[in-house]
Amino acid sequence: MKEEESTQHLLERAKELQCMYEVDDVLQNNELGLIAAMENLVDIIPAGFSHPSACRVQIALWGEVFAKADFSQARVLHVTPILVEEDVMGEISVGYIESQMEEPAELLTNEIRLLKSISGRISLMALHTERELSLLLNMLHCIDPDMLLHISEKMQQHLREKVGEKAEPLFSGGIFGHMQTMGEVNAPQVLAHDAAASAVLGRRILKGAMAFLPLNAIIQLITDWIREQRIFALIKTVDSKDASVGDILDAVNRYSEAIRDRDSSKRNSPPEKWLIAEMAHRFLTSDAYLVDLMVENLRIEDFLPVLQRIIGSGNSMGNLGGKGAGLFIASQLLRHEEADDPLLQNIKIPLTWFIAADQLVDFLHFNDLEELNSYKYNSPVELRATYDSVVAKIKKAFLPPQTVQMLRVVLEEFRGSPLVVRSSSLMEDRHSGAFSGKYKSLFLANQGTRQEKLVALTDAILEVYASMYNPDALQYRRERSMLNTPEQMGVLIQEVVGQKVGKYYLPAFAGVAFSHNLLRWSSRITREGGLSRMVMGLGTRAVDRLKDDYPVIFSPGQPELLINQTPSDVYYYSPRHIDLINMETGSFETVPLRDFLHEAGDAFPHLNRYVSVYQDNFIQEKSAFALSPQNDEMVVTFKTLLAGDTPRRLKRILDVLSDRFGSPIDIEFASDGESLCLLQCRPQTSGLQGGPAPIPQNLGHQDMIFTASRFVSDALIENILYVVYVDADAYSALGTPEELKAVGRVVGLLNSFLPRRKFILMGPGRWGSRGDMKLGVTVTYSDISGTAALIEVAKERRSYVPEVSFGTHFFQDLVEAGIAYLPLYPDQEGIVFKESFFRSTPNLLPHIFPQYAWLQEVVRVFDIPASYQGRTLSLHMNADLEQAVAFLRGPQTAAMAARAEPAAEPAFQDNRQEAAGQHWQWRHYMAEQIAQSLDMEGLGVKGIYLFGSVNTGDAGMGSDIDLILHVDGNAEQRRLLAGWLDGWSRSLARINYLRTGYEQQKMLDVHMVTDADIAAGNSYAIKITSSVDPATPLRLRDP
């Protein structure tokens, strides 16, 4: 019996314990609101008592009562109060429904203790909840009473939606009771009430919410609402016209602080979008596409690093200018991708400060230089004549004191790293990349005392400002109808990416990369593979085309397909010089690469990744230990680097950015040897001739000369007057190497004879094969430099189609000189190649060069207007469609098209034509003046003739005036004549410089011919009687 009792006793304890655990579970469940928790407890607690089925529990807390409906039938046996810090907050009552029991029972002592424990737990929970909430509410009340009201309003709305009628009593007599639609904060209404009363009510609502929502949920909601409210604060700031950059920075800061821990997936609320759009407009760009892009991809706090580094006065709008904006957007796009993509990780942006574009206005005002605003309307001659004094004026001026103050801060942050001061004008990097290079970028060693550094930096900024008045830049704007658009000059102050090597500072490598590869040196090269030009040292040498130097070129998508195959070609087409900052002299320098490597190669980290060793016509990679900069003949190949992931990283950057920007882009990059840095990003300038040409669809078959559908790039060439055609069959039938070589010579002669860019060259297979002249016309680049297009014809020979060279031998020269390249496959199906045109058009070769008449079957020169009633040839090439067509255009159609076109074409082309007309006209006038003032008797001149581009009306800003002088004087007369002409030549060149900025020593290209020359038809003498582009007599001596 005793045993039975003790078992019973133990069972009761077990039940009580179990009950206690369950109570704890409920009270600790953060998901449950107060009501749900209490309702659960009412169910759970009876299980802890001797007669669970008859046991009923009622919990009263904060005026709410929770119990089963039949509690009233129970006889209450015990009531335990719920105390919160000694105040009675409620009670727990327990009783049995005796009708459901065999016999009435009392509570056991342990059961009463259980009740007390439960009550204690509930007290604790209540205490905790109330404390948290009160704390929060008190704090809110103190800091921002408006915020409290806003939140309680939100809570009311929330409870109405979620809980419905049950929550209604909470709001009785409330401030928000009558508002039916809950929109945004309605601040004036709130303020109309008694603030204290509102606060009390607000607290009531929020506390009341505890009944329905778990504490965590309440706190979360409140946090969200606070954040939202912060946005409104930010909106208020951003929206206000007179907010300074500092105000906005402050607001963004507060905002990002407030939302720091927030789940990022929830963050694209309408106000946020609006804000990003507004900030994008204000600081970065007005380009609709880019703004969309930022709204989709960026977050508000992304703007922080930029806002922190804008230098602008109180009233500055803070616009960064084109270059700054492009870099910022690109860097943020990459940053958002990097988490998912290892190739994009660790791509850095150099530390950059921005002087807002509108600071130029302050600067001008501060120095009383407002006169410069209208400077741009001066004539080109005046611009050039006065530019030096403008530069001097600006360099003598002062930056406003607050700017100087900021520059001190800037220099502190850069801690003596070399700097580059770059222009970032509003127009730059937007309309077309060609604008780049018109404004200045200056490198600073940033060494010396603080004051010295500041002076150097200030000086550089002033120089960048001055470059806005550079006549070239103004002319460029004039030509593109951008002169009346206000231009402002932002300035980027950027850390130079690099490392110190000996006394020099330079990047390990740097370059440019294009997402769209228009240089295809093999049929396997795809446009999507992209293109990169890379050098050791500063990227300036990769950006610019230099006459005597070559960057390393590769396709980031296809780095394995090399342009240069033989070791000697690799050696030849490699960088010869290196750009760097000399820290001792504090200047930007160009040093022969060989000298640099000899001097500093040992100190250059990982040099063996960038250079190979060229020895005995063999190119070899050496290990860091074997490489000897003093003894090895080194050639920059980047072989080891390109075998790593650098090409893939560049490709990935290009892909991501061009995808996001929705158009091809180009970037500048540099590396300090450790990480890759993005320096610039802008839309890629489309094709050489300005983008894909439309392919006319309704051409008559009789007008089409040829079409092409493979490996087509973009070009539009109109008004082609001559075609030089080398016939493949006749060429291959030539008997000796000498004959084959003569063809190359004739092409070279025609190149200098025919009007520049008014003819195209067509011929078999591989032009310019070095060393293997049997297999293609032997020419060098200088033999074809004047052509508008080089067209390699791959005619089927027996059963195979010969491969074309893709211009490999000089393709770089072709592209950068704007010469279009096109391979033709005449035997391909669906291709037009009008044999009759090439066979039956009259051949001018025997008339032009009688001495080469024997080659007339091989080299054919067609004068299109003369042979086709004044019509000209047009070549339209469209890379997107992979189509090209060359067709004859009637004079009628040409004129009509000329009238119709300006509407479709960008306006600047029209202007450029007009400008080109000016080049021609004044040259022609001057030629006439020379003829008029020439003492023909005294100097022994029988006639003076004009030919070339001035004669044909095609002269550009760099054109010479080509004159033929028919002379019969003695040596002394010739000497005097030459001197007289030389004077003209030099002064005309100077005038041309003032007008256009095109520098040349002399402008006259004078050819003296004698009676004997004319009789023999020598050299230029034949121009006088030529049927092609004949020279015009300006003045003849009276007989």
Binding site: K547, L562, P567, Y571
Partner: protein, 428 residues
């Protein structure tokens, strides 16, 4: 260029026919020597980087190996034709014979454009070439070398494939390898030095000390540079050097009447032999138009740049003082100029002999590989001098004895050496 027009094979046969006439060869011998003895035409399937397979057409042609293993380059060219390879293989037979190295003539080619191939694909192509042909290659059979668009790297891939297949080390299977990987020292210098050894051989024959002579060079590439170095080292005086200027797209002649300092000129020339005009001026050189190299009052002209430089048109401009033309380039003198040269009594040292230093050094590379013992630079040059001088003596003696123009004598001696080997073997 396949049927009509210039066909290098036909012109090589024509040239042989003339010598055969002089040597009064019988028809069997002519038939044997005017065409290659063995031709291999084969395909090489290459797995491309993208997983596809591309098939390349290739050749190896052995013109004649009566005197020893065939020797000749492998060319990669998109418009390679079998006739070009045939002609070149015949040339190799004569070239090896003229310097009397115990090698025959061969040539190979693959129709391909290396611009369209990645390095990995080129490697597979090279290995494929050897896999298809390895039974016919080897230090004792046929020894390839670099040629148009192939270089030392291609040779190493081929060698490695050959050694993997045959399971041994046979560095003498191929030449043109880098020093340290079976290459020979002195290859860079060989052609230029060889030329001067020939010239010096002739000067000794006519009893004129080299120290008393003067030279004008056309071109300042690798061959001219080393020739000029050796020539001045031996005591001769270089009066003028003309060379192409890349930037100005024309050539200049650099003249110093009391003798050019080759080392200082080398220091101011770039990778492709352009001498810096401004720096040369500063060093006291006269800058003359490019074609003036030919009109200098010197004893010796060395055209070392392009083909067809000395033509009947410019011949009268050659100074009366010139007694020797030493052909360093390939075919610098047009055939119609030969009678004029003979008429003036100028000694012509033919290109065929003068630029044989290269092939001689390739032979040395092969010998060293077969011995697996590599000579010092001095040893290489000493042997080169001996070989070139010997070769010259042979030609000179024949020319004197039979009153032949040295160009003809060189061909005759080369063909005759092959003929006698063929005869001794009882082939014809």
């Amino acid at each position: 260029m396949t049927t009509a027009g210039y066909n290098p094979y036909e012109s090589a046969q024509l040239q042989f026919d003339k010598v055969a006439q002089t040597l009064e060869l019988d028809s069997g011998m002519r038939a044997l020597l005017r065409q290659p003895m063995k031709e291999f035409h084969f395909t090489i399937p290459v797995k491309m980087d993208d997983g596809s397979t591309k098939v390349f057409n290739a050749f190896r042609i052995r013109h004649n190996d009566a005197r020893g293993p065939a020797k000749g380059g492998i060319r990669f060219h998109p418009q390679e034709t079998v006739d070009t390879v045939r002609a070149l293989s015949m040339w190799m037979t004569w070239k090896c014979a003229v310097v009397d190295v115990p090698l025959g003539g061969g040539k190979g080619g693959v129709i391909c454009d290396p611009h369209n191939l990645s390095q990995a694909e080129q490697e597979r192509l090279c290995r494929g070439y050897v896999r298809q042909l390895y039974t016919q290659l080897g230090p004792n059979q046929d020894v390839p070398a670099p040629d148009v668009m192939t270089n030392a790297q291609h040779m190493l891939w081929m060698l490695d494939e050959y050694e993997v297949i045959t399971g041994g080390h046979f560095p003498g299977m191929i030449t043109g390898k880098p020093v340290g990987m079976g290459g020979s020292l002195g290859r860079t210098e060989a052609t230029g030095f060889g030329l001067v050894y020939v010239l010096n051989g002739y000067l000794r024959c006519i009893d004129k000390p080299i120290e008393s002579t003067t030279v004008s060079f056309q071109g300042f590439g690798n061959v001219a540079e080393y020739a000029a170095r050796m020539y001045t080292q031996m005591g001769g005086k270089v009066i003028a050097i003309s060379c192409w200027n890349q930037a100005d797209a024309k050539s200049y002649t650099f003249r110093k009447k009391d003798g050019c300092d080759i080392t200082e000129l080398v220091a101011i020339k770039d990778a492709f032999g352009s001498i810096d005009v401004a720096k040369a001026k500063a060093l006291g050189y006269e800058i003359l138009p490019g074609e003036e190299w030919l009109a200098q009052d010197v004893d010796i002209l060395i055209p070392a740049a392009l083909e067809n430089q000395i033509t009947p048109a410019v011949f009268p401009r050659i100074s009366k003082q010139v007694k020797i033309i030493c052909e360093a380039a390939n075919g610098p003198t047009t055939p119609d100029c030969d009678p004029l040269i003979q008429e003036r009594g100028i000694a012509l040292l033919p290109d065929f002999l003068c630029n044989a230093g290269g092939v001689t050094c390739s032979y040395f590379e092969q010998v060293q590989c077969n011995l697996n013992y590599f000579w010092s630079m001095e040893e290489v040059l000493e042997k080169l001098e001996y070989k070139m001088t010997q070769a010259f003596r042979g030609i000179y003696d024949l020319a004197q004895a039979k009153n032949l123009y040295m160009r003809d004598a060189a061909y005759v001696i080369a063909v005759d050496r092959v003929v006698s080997a063929v005869k001794m073997r009882g082939w014809a």
